[in-house]
């Protein structure tokens, strides 16, 4: 029984990371209407910036994370302004290919700047605590708490502020948003900034329990795709639900089925879902 609870706790940890990445992806989907393949590269850059700030400049973990969020948010804005803005109205394939181009560049850039080695990230929260009879590292606990705080902050931003409401409006109905005078460009770059920031936060939180390397974003982003399809493209509650669902499935599956094939679970899950329901779960309207 203790093993099961331990695995549920681990599942919540991984699920928190997946959710943060998927939230950014789902927000950007509302703007682009195609999945942003470059999002995983943002995640990777986020981890390296935090690492560089800590090792290179000796900043504290939290300051490094904030710097990393700022840098990756800026990176998101730059890609939106320079590339995606110009492709507005182009067919989905061109946008997806452009995103792939950005991904290829950023991955090579990561390799060029920081090499192909695997790095460990130190954390001031490496100690072990006892939580209801479970022994857990403080960092894992921190991931869960920080993710919940970020999600709540995002929720209040989207529902209680004008700009947040504009983002939601844009995702719901583009023409309608234009009609009520929403500044599409502003909403677009802001959404990219938020998505980039969330990816950087997720990466910085997860790195101490994983490792930092140039292709670290690949599996995460592919799983984030799975999550937003499970949760419905563009849906925020869906992304949260899907993220935790996948985290738990993986962590429990790794223990009770096979740890070798734990990565397959996510993709099999998606193949099964799309086989049964080609437009994804919880999709509104007709395709």
């Amino acid at each position: 029984m203790e093993l099961l609870f331990q695995q549920i706790f681990n599942g919540l940890t991984i699920g928190s990371v997946y959710t943060l990445v998927a939230l950014g992806l789902t927000l950007v989907f509302g703007i682009l209407h195609v999945p942003n393949f470059a999002h995983g590269a943002f995640y990777m850059v986020g981890a390296y910036i935090t690492l560089m700030m800590m090792v290179g400049f000796g900043f504290h973990y939290w300051i490094a994370i904030i710097a990393s969020i700022a840098v990756v948010a800026l990176l998101g804005v730059v890609t939106q302004q320079l590339i995606f803005k110009k492709l507005e109205g182009a067919d989905g394939m061109r946008m997806m290919v452009a995103a792939i181009g950005i991904l290829l560049f950023l991955e090579a850039f990561g390799q060029f700047m920081w090499g192909t080695e695997y790095y460990r990230m130190d954390t001031p929260y490496g100690s072990v605590v006892n939580l209801f009879g479970l022994t857990v590292t403080l960092q894992r606990l921190l991931i869960i708490v920080a993710a919940v705080i970020l999600m709540l902050a995002l929720h209040f931003f989207l529902t209680k502020t004008m700009i947040g409401a504009a983002i939601v409006a844009m995702a719901q109905n583009r023409e309608g948003a234009f009609l009520v005078g929403i500044n599409a460009n502003q909403v677009a770059w802001l959404t990219f900034a938020i998505a980039g920031g969330l990816a950087a936060a997720a990466a910085s939180l997860a790195s101490p329990i994983n490792l930092v390397f140039p292709t670290m974003g690949n599996l995460v982003i592919m799983k984030a795709f799975v999550i937003i399809i499970i949760g419905g493209m563009g849906s925020i509650p869906g992304a949260i639900l899907g993220g935790y669902l996948l985290g738990l499935t993986e962590s429990i599956g790794a223990t009770y089925i096979s740890s070798d094939y734990k990565d397959v679970i996510a993709f099999l899950l998606l193949v099964v879902i799309l086989t049964a329901k080609p437009t994804g779960l919880f999709t509104k309207g007709v395709q």
Partner: protein, 335 residues
């Protein structure tokens, strides 16, 4: 478009150059490179059918390439089949896999299709990587035999392998040419331009898409099988999504949805990569932005842009001729 005569002349010159090349320049390094270009081009031609002509971005292409490669590798090394039978079976297996994936994947549209096929590609990769007892896992599969003798013809030299790859490439291009210039090709393009419109004029979308997807898998499988017997060693890395992206890049540089695009793109990108060898690991620093710039400003790639240029010129000529004709007619009427 170039007029038919000069196009045919150009084609004959290119074909002759390809055939005579090994006799004129018996440079091993260049021959090796060109053989690889030919082999990859076959896969890119397959990619072009589904993504270029039908307009569906498939991200499972490296997966099919790997199925072909591992199919041949396993059938020859583990099952002990003869080379040519294995080649045939490997291509057949890949086509069947393509058809099976296609039946389900093609029910999804646009980005769902892209993500679905991406997942298929990842599953193929993970299976190859983890299924140690069958595929050899990360250690890969070694000792794949070179193409077997075909009567008096042997394939133990590089030059003969070059001609073998050239033969299959020519076969592929010929088949693609016939498809594109037939009703089938026009059907594919009709689906790309508007699925609804195609449906209303009575085109069976699913049937045609499935055919296109299966054909694209077939060429990927053929290319993979040839690759395995040329390199003689394969690892799980050939099914990684980066390989799909690489093929997409070849297609994009050459010109997506054009007949010459795949070979032009593959030739240019691979030779550039080879000449910038110091960049090997970082070449995406250049090619990543190239892909983005192409999408932004030249979405039809090199071949597409050249075709567009000639088309424009032709239109201008026709316009000038029409105007002259009009003037003459008016003069005639006046007189």
């Amino acid at each position: 478009m170039l007029n038919v005569l000069s196009k045919r002349v150009l084609l004959i010159i290119v074909a002759l150059a390809a055939v005579l090349f090994p006799l004129v320049f018996p440079n091993m390094y260049v021959l090796q490179l060109l053989t690889l270009v030919f082999i990859w081009s076959i896969a890119v031609y397959g990619y072009n059918i589904i993504s270029g002509y039908v307009g569906y971005l498939s991200l499972a292409h490296a997966g099919f390439f790997a199925i072909g490669a591992y199919g041949l590798g396993l059938l020859t090394t583990k099952a002990g089949f003869s080379y040519w039978l294995s080649l045939l079976l490997a291509v057949l297996i890949t086509s069947i896999a393509g058809a099976l994936v296609g039946v389900i994947a093609l029910r999804t549209k646009s980005h769902f299709f892209a993500i679905y096929t991406m997942c298929v590609g990842v599953i193929v990769y993970l299976l190859i990587d983890k299924w140690d007892s069958l595929t050899g896992g990360v250690r890969g599969l070694i000792g794949i035999p070179a193409p077997g003798n075909l009567g008096p013809i042997t394939f133990d030299t590089l030059t003969s392998q070059y001609y073998l790859a050239l033969f299959f490439l020519t076969f592929t291009i010929f088949l693609c040419y016939r498809i594109v210039h037939s009703l089938l090709g026009r059907t594919f393009i009709a689906i790309r331009n508007s699925e609804e419109l195609a449906k209303t004029i009575g085109i069976s979308i699913m049937k045609n898409q499935l055919l296109a997807f299966t054909l694209s898998a077939l060429f990927a499988g053929l290319s993979g099988a040839l690759y395995a017997s040329f390199i003689r060693f394969i690892g799980p890395q050939i099914s990684a999504i980066t390989v799909t992206f690489e093929m997409l890049m070849y297609l994009l540089v050459g010109g997506i949805g054009t007949l010459a695009g795949p070979i032009v793109g593959t030739l240019i990108v691979i030779s550039l990569t080879q000449s910038l060898q110091f960049l090997e690991e970082y070449r995406m620093l250049i090619f990543g932005p190239v892909v983005v710039l192409l999408v932004l400003y030249y979405p039809r790639g090199i071949t597409g842009s050249i075709n567009g240029y000639f088309q424009k010129k032709k239109q201008q000529r026709v316009k000038v001729a029409n105007e002259e004709h009009d003037v003459k007619r008016k003069v005639g009427e006046a007189g």
